[in-house]
Subunit: 446 residues, 2 copies
């Protein structure tokens, strides 16, 4: 839908009037004059499709038909653009297909849908001469999709590093600042509306991984199915890890990384230690951050609210304006996004030479430290520092029985290949004195 | 020039083959395949206009005519786009007029030209159906023009705060990290190529002020002639000020501020204290940073290299691609940039209630502190902290003569109106005991 000089209102349909949908209505209504100036013509919500029309909304709705039937929008030829603001895969996927097939351009915030069905949906849109805009799908209000797809187009991107899940970041920040447990911080996130009733997609890293898959495609051209990206969530992080990291001058963040390395793409979503004072470490609460290195521009850093009603609605409305004025159609056509000739992904393991942070819980008896550091040495891993803390409280019973207490060994390595560390840990975790599975986190010093 | 499906190369002209121009050639040549993919067709440098054709260039030039005559480009109908990469006002202005009048779209990095002649040049381009793109004119590689003009279009911008001059920031960072004097740090900046032989436009705040005028127009719609913006450069900052600030937990940055306040725009470029740990304080060396608050998106922060050959060239090439594919034409038409109906600026004084940092040099004799704090109290200014340092060395002669030594009083106020502080300082500077003009800097705590 290109801007054709008309000043007639553009009629749009909203699918979903939840948090984000209500925010979009608020911007379109409250800032109508401002939006009209930027779009060159008024933008008018003409119809909405929701699951439960009786539900109360967080916005003052214009007098429009509200229905449960997507046909209210798809069959209305006066509606040329639809904002698909529902989560999940179905019925979102079928609705997007129906909207595209009925000639609507689509704006969406649904990153799961794009990460899962991106190639087929983009191909369909292209075949039909329609566009899909999705700034709001990644990092909320941060214009990272435009930055990579348009603003940094002169650059070959070397790496992307980001904090892409606001819920996880909120929980980690609360743990480090309040000393709360993971469970307490999660409960607070839920009480404040930052986490869903079922937060598993946030805390197990799924959400961040889906976003990374989308950003990597924009940046590198490759399409990597999100399930193939190595992923660890913050549900593996406990308060002791956060304390040990702080002692060493670090914080723990859920970091999504993608980087070109010898013609292959290395990707990972996992908790990592980030040095206090660096931008990722200073990203707190529900904020998101993305750091991109391009061959011409060097390192660029973006920071902003990555979720929440109005930041996400801000991105959706920017996409609506871009679609109305015709910029989206151009970008969608020229970036070759997810086209049939998208290169098959050649995902490399992240085998960076980096520093590693290890926590190994052992029974406190003579010779254990020598045994463990010996194994690390055998794998060519050199140790930068070791912290051994007071014995872990194991209960009165254990103390009374004079069982040797458990202690945590915290080891920071020098630069070494991740593969060597993982092999060493396999041996270490087989030692009699080692209790449970050891923890290994990457360390980002800049 | 809209993308019309042709895959014929686009022929462009370069005006200026200095640092930035050479960088543009390097990207277009070295990343030709990458650029072709983003632009939908090859981009070919067809001609260059320079001051001295015999000069050696920092790039491998394709076999093209290199001339001193702008007509080589303006009279070639096969060239549809020109990148104007020379600084200063003339002949840059006449060349841009000639390029537009001969039907070329123009991409430029010349912020002085736009800050001085923006309204007439934009009006001319609009009348002729041409476009001017200028991402590279502000904050180098940071895509701040696109961010404000397009990505944050759904927002009413509340404020912009930025470090927009890399040379000044390099000098301040060297002073604070090396303890060098202003003159030493400036000499180093010149040796490293961060500062021009004549650095006055950088260090007196002119460059940052011109960039602020452009950003403010994009963000607020008002056009404020840059000379009307209150401006203080870093040439007023000495190493003692930086040390006192550090003692209080702050760094000094040249901060450009524009903010809406009661329907008026308050703007300022001046050195300010920024709290250590906040993003502006962590912006070091030749980096630039911009923080924007939008009513929907909240606070967004961008950080990247604000100058230098390749970051600036990255922005120029992004604009070239945007112009080739047709995005620039749309944006230029819809944002109403600097149109004839641009509101006349209603510039308010920056009379924020903020904390102020004062340095008052006094003759060390009884009653002086009481007199000065009394004057502040009379103006309703409450003091948060005072540092009085050892007497300033005034030379052996003065010591021998037993003249009372000079001491610096450093005062941090609580929140108070700038106007009250400035009035109080007028009285203070009239006191007998006060030596020279006192320094007053704003304090940014977040």
């Amino acid at each position: 839908m290109a801007h054709n000089g008309s000043t007639q209102p553009v009629r749009i349909g909203l699918v979903g009037l939840g948090t984000v949908g209500s925010g979009v209505v608020r911007i379109l209504v409250d800032s109508a004059d401002h939006i009209t100036r930027h779009a060159g013509r008024p933008i008018e919500v003409a119809a909405a499709v929701v699951r439960d029309p009786a539900k109360e909304r967080d916005c003052t709705l214009p007098a429009i038909p509200i229905s449960t039937d997507i046909g209210t929008i798809s069959r209305d030829p006066s509606i040329t653009l639809a904002a698909l603001l529902v989560g999940g895969l179905e019925p979102a996927r079928s609705m997007m297909v129906e909207l595209l097939e009925s000639g609507k351009d689509v704006v969406t915030a649904n990153k799961a849908l794009l990460a899962e069905h991106g190639p087929e949906l983009f191909e369909l849109a292209r075949r039909l001469g329609r566009s899909i805009a999705f700034e709001a799908a990644v990092a909320g209000g941060i214009p990272i999709v435009a930055a990579i797809g348009e603003c940094l187009a002169a650059n070959r991107i070397e790496s992307i590093r980001g904090i892409l899940n606001g819920t996880s970041n909120f929980i980690l920040t609360r743990m480090e600042e309040d000393g709360s447990s993971y469970a307490e911080a999660l409960a607070l996130a839920q009480a404040k509306g930052f986490a869903e009733a079922d937060p598993s997609m946030d805390v197990d890293g799924t959400d961040a991984t889906q976003k990374l898959a989308i950003l990597s495609h924009l940046a590198f051209g490759d399409w990597v199915p999100w399930k193939e990206i190595p992923r660890t969530g913050i549900d593996t992080v406990d308060i002791d890890l956060i304390r040990y990291a702080a002692e060493l001058g670090y914080r723990i963040r859920l970091v999504a990384v993608a980087r070109r390395s010898n013609g292959r793409l290395a990707m990972r979503v996992a908790p990592a230690l980030v040095k206090i004072g660096t931008p990722l470490a200073e990203t707190r609460g529900a904020y998101n951050a993305v750091s991109i290195v391009g061959d011409a521009v060097g390192r660029m850093f973006f920071h902003g609210l990555g979720a929440g009603q109005m930041p996400t609605a801000s991105a959706v409305v920017a996409d609506i304006i871009d679609t109305v004025v015709g910029r989206t159609a151009i970008t969608f056509r020229t970036t070759g996004l997810l086209s049939a000739d998208t290169p098959a992904a050649k995902l490399a393991g992240v085998d960076a030479s980096e520093r590693h942070f290890l926590r190994i819980v052992v029974t406190d008896r003579p010779g254990v430290l020598a045994r463990i550091t010996g194994i690390l040495g055998d794998h060519g891993i050199s140790i930068a520092s070791v912290i051994q803390h007071d014995p872990i409280a194991t209960g009165a019973a254990a103390a009374a029985a004079s069982v040797p207490p458990d202690v945590a060994l915290v080891i920071m390595t020098h630069l070494c290949p991740s593969s060597a560390v993982h092999e060493a840990l396999l041996s270490i975790d087989r030692c009699d004195a080692v209790r449970g599975k050891s923890v290994c986190l990457g360390v980002l010093d800049e």
